[in-house]
């Protein structure tokens, strides 16, 4: 099968077709192309409005390309238009996306290899052509270098090579592997022939042999790729580069090979269906790896979640305080008499207010539903039903807020009678200040718990206890407040509010300092108008339900209203 040839008889010859075929297979894009100009700086911007790139070359020159508002601009000058969302813009954005996604500074290579999409017309086509030409001119100046001529030692003709590649697809796949690898540069080529390098002789350059017998008793100064055929390596035979083979016989003793010696793992020749399945499985595997990585990453970096949640809790407490303070000040401004009566009711009858509030809270939902049913079954009530459904919850929520703010004021008032540092600079006689101080106390437990949460696990028990205290305070204040609102009929009935209140004067300024909103005013009743929070002897004898103002005769001792 092999026709022996001596290395001295090597004559480079061949045909353009084989040169082209091998060049295409063995020379990767770029390897034989012109040297890209060195870019020292690039800036890519991709937004909904613009997709552009700026380049600065090593010689100081620059290039700026921008797709913006339907125009393609090169160095600021328009070279044509593009259809937003069209093929040209999509291709350009994809290019820039690849440039950003890569992590190895491959912008120039990407720009050099960019080609406009087919099927463009009109302004888009001219813009794409101008852009492509400019990129080729600026990024890759000079014509592509011609590949090194491949010296062929033996070739029977084009048909032999093509026939062999068709008959032996493993060769083609092996060549593809070599092409993808990109490191093999054959300078000599042997096909279906016999080549001997005699002792003392050298062949300089890498050798590709297909279905050939290669005898090396001298030196092959380069790599050897053997596809089919046979390699015999003499005792003095040397291959200075790598040896790679497929479907061929190579000696077991490859000590004469200075480089690596490996069989070629040809790329797989898969059907389109098999290829699709393979891509699917690889995508699934990659996605799974990504998910695992993401989960692992989130686990490793989540050690300090207490800080963020604690800060979020602190912020939430602050926002809650601000909202309630704003609502409280608004109520104080617009309904000063009502909030005063609710406050007095909560202070004078806290036990009764608490029970009424709890009952009201529990019964509110059944009342709402019952109301809906009654209104629905009575055909005449259907129009009212449309109002009842949203209005009732709003009224209940409003009552709870009013009651909560009123109780906050009571708490603030109580605090103002304590000799506490930090309150020295405040005029705690003002109802507004009292509301603010009370809200700080009621919500403060949650805020402090959040601060402790930031401190880490060591403070968790304290944070838990503070949260528990906050819940108890909030539920208690909310229930008493709601009950006080119900007892006072939203602050309109002072029956349980103790003595006559300060707002009997219609010209009363709710923002002005008040000596004591729970103290009797001139003309107060015989009950003495007790201040339930006043220090010392001013404390009421009792503060429980049994002490609630509930005149035996049913009359209101403060207002003189008729008994109900």
């Amino acid at each position: 099968m092999y026709e022996h040839r001596d290395v001295r008889g090597l004559i480079p010859h061949g045909t353009a077709l084989v040169v082209a075929a091998l060049a295409a297979l063995l020379l990767l894009p770029g390897t034989g192309m012109a040297q890209d100009r060195e870019v020292v700086y690039n800036q890519v911007t991709v937004s909904s409005q613009e997709a552009g790139i700026e380049l600065e070359f090593v010689d100081g020159s620059t290039l700026a390309v921008a797709f913006r508002e339907g125009e393609v601009r090169i160095d600021g000058a328009s070279v044509g238009g593009y259809a937003p969302g069209g093929a040209l813009e999509a291709s350009w954005r994809r290019l820039l996306g690849d440039a950003v996604a890569g992590d190895n500074g491959e912008v120039v290579r990407l720009l050099a290899s960019w080609a406009p999409p087919e099927g463009l017309d009109g302004a888009s086509a001219s813009a794409a052509s101008a852009l492509h030409d400019e990129l080729q001119r600026v990024v890759t100046p000079g014509a592509p270098e011609s590949p090194e001529p491949i010296r062929m030692t033996s070739l029977e003709g084009d048909e032999d090579l093509l026939q062999l590649l068709l008959i032996e697809p493993a060769y083609l796949r092996s060549l593809t592997t070599l092409a993808l690898d990109g490191t093999f540069r054959p300078e000599h080529f042997v096909l279906n022939d016999d080549l001997r390098i005699e002792a003392g002789e050298s062949l300089v350059g890498s050798l590709l042999a297909l279905d050939s017998r290669i005898d090396v008793d001298g030196t092959l100064d380069g790599d050897l790729v053997l596809l089919g055929g046979l390699l015999r390596l003499g005792e003095e035979g040397r291959i200075t580069g790598d040896l790679r083979w497929a479907e061929g016989d190579v000696p077991d003793d490859r000590s004469g090979v200075a480089g690596s010696a490996n069989a070629i793992d040809p790329v797989l020749g898969l059907s389109s269906g098999e290829l699709q399945d393979r891509i699917r499985s690889e995508v699934r595997a990659a996605t799974s790896d990504l998910q695992r990585t993401t989960r692992r990453s989130s686990r490793t970096i989540g050690f300090g979640s207490g800080v963020l949640s604690g800060l979020a809790g602190l912020l939430q407490a602050a926002v809650t305080f601000a909202i309630f303070l704003a609502v409280g000040l608004a109520i104080l401004h617009f309904f000063p008499r009502h909030i005063d009566i609710v406050s007095r009711t909560a202070a004078n009858a806290p036990g009764r207010a608490f029970l009424v509030g709890v009952a009201g809270g529990i019964l509110s939902m059944p009342i709402w539903i019952t109301g809906m049913i009654v209104l629905a079954v009575s055909v005449i009530g259907i129009p009212v039903l449309l109002l009842w459904i949203p209005a009732f919850p709003i009224v209940v929520a409003g009552a709870m807020i009013l009651g909560y703010v009123a109780v906050s004021r009571n708490v603030g008032h109580w605090i103002s009678h304590r000799d506490l540092q930090g309150l020295d600079g405040m005029d705690t006689t003002r109802p507004a200040v009292q509301i603010g101080v009370g809200l700080m106390v009621l919500i403060g437990a949650f805020a402090i718990a959040s601060v402790l949460q930031i401190g880490g696990m060591i403070f968790s028990p304290f944070a838990f206890l503070l949260n528990l205290a906050g819940i108890i305070l909030t539920v208690g204040a909310g229930s008493i407040g709601l009950g006080a609102v119900l007892l006072s009929r939203a602050g309109r009935d002072p029956a349980f509010a103790g003595d006559a209140h300060a707002f009997s004067d219609p010209d009363f300024d709710p923002w002005a300092p008040s000596p004591d909103p729970f103290r009797s005013t001139p003309g107060g009743s015989a009950r003495g108008n007790p201040d339930p929070f006043a220090p010392g002897g001013e404390d009421p004898p009792t503060a429980g339900p049994e002490a609630d103002a509930d005149p035996a005769d049913g009359s209101d001792p403060n207002s003189g209203e008729a008994p109900r």
Binding site: V100, T300, I301, L311, A449, M457
Partner: protein, 283 residues
């Protein structure tokens, strides 16, 4: 704060509902700044980043730096200047910035820095989740200043340069650093407000390293490799110390190999409220 949400839920429902919901989907802008190394002898890097995710890692061969920013152009604009060996990069808010919750959630910032050019790194980051892989980057100094952030630092390769000072100033944040010994820093300084600071000195190779840590409230953990002598001095108000391998002698705590170790760490801790833990680690 779950408790507050539940207990005040009914009352808060209305105002919170009126406060508005989440913003619409973000349209992120991508900006990349990439420069090849061209004979720079040193580099000073300043990073300013307010919100989002931040990732720092070594650059590919030949690159001086590479910054890729994904940000909401409605609220932020990129900052990038490079001159005289000084790089300033990051994003800054615009006047029309929305609340952080709405605008910074998907923002990302990837920074790659040269392995070969010696550089001083200054990071000023806010509400950021940061992942810093400093392995192999030539650092002569580093200053990390954070607000409410979660920061993870990994160093798995030695610093080719010698670092004078490694400084962390953390507000209310979590900071975790592994392999900080690889950074070859003469002094490591940690200033913490509230939060959790955990640093490991794996890879330590200097004969003498100084660690100064002050923490207002929270947990501080310092891991020292086996075979490294430790001397600890502490000033605290209400904080606990957990250092089972240290023995108190006079005003300081010493490891039993303090006199014989060829590498030593002097740790000074000032903690107001919280816990301090000094532990041994491999490496």
């Amino acid at each position: 704060m779950t408790a507050l949400r539940w207990s005040l839920g009914a009352l808060l429902l209305l105002p919170l509902a009126l406060a508005g919901g989440e913003a619409g989907a973000q349209e992120l802008t991508t900006a990349q700044f990439e420069r090849r190394a061209s004979g720079e002898s040193s580099l000073s890097v300043v990073v300013r980043y307010g919100a989002g995710e931040f990732e720092l890692a070594p650059a590919a061969s030949g690159l001086l730096y590479r910054a890729v920013l994904h940000y909401d152009e409605e609220d932020f604009e990129p900052v990038h200047t490079f001159s005289d060996g000084r790089l300033e990069v990051g994003v800054e808010g615009t006047a029309r910035s929305r609340p952080l919750r709405q605008s910074g959630s998907d923002a990302r910032f990837q920074l790659r820095l040269s392995r070969t050019v010696p550089q001083h790194l200054r990071l000023e980051i806010g509400a950021v989740r940061a992942d810093l892989d400093l392995g192999g980057i030539a650092l002569t100094g580093m200053h990390l200043s954070t607000g409410a952030s979660e920061t993870r630092i990994r160093v798995e390769e030695p610093n080719p340069a010698e670092m004078d000072q490694l400084r962390f100033a953390v507000g209310a944040a979590s900071l975790r650093g592994d392999g900080l010994g690889h950074l070859n820093a003469r002094r490591i300084q940690v200033e913490g407000g509230v939060g959790e600071v955990r640093i490991g000195l794996e890879g330590l190779r200097r004969e003498e390293t100084e660690v100064q840590a002050s923490l207002g409230m929270g947990a501080l953990e310092i891991r020292v490799p086996e075979g490294v002598g430790v001397r600890l001095t502490r000033s605290s108000f209400l904080s606990s110390l957990n250092a089972p391998f240290l023995e108190r002698r006079g005003d300081a705590h010493y490891s039993d190999d303090w006199e014989t170790a060829d590498r030593r760490v002097r740790i000074s801790v000032d903690s107001a409220l919280g816990s301090v833990r000094i532990a041994r680690t491999d490496g």
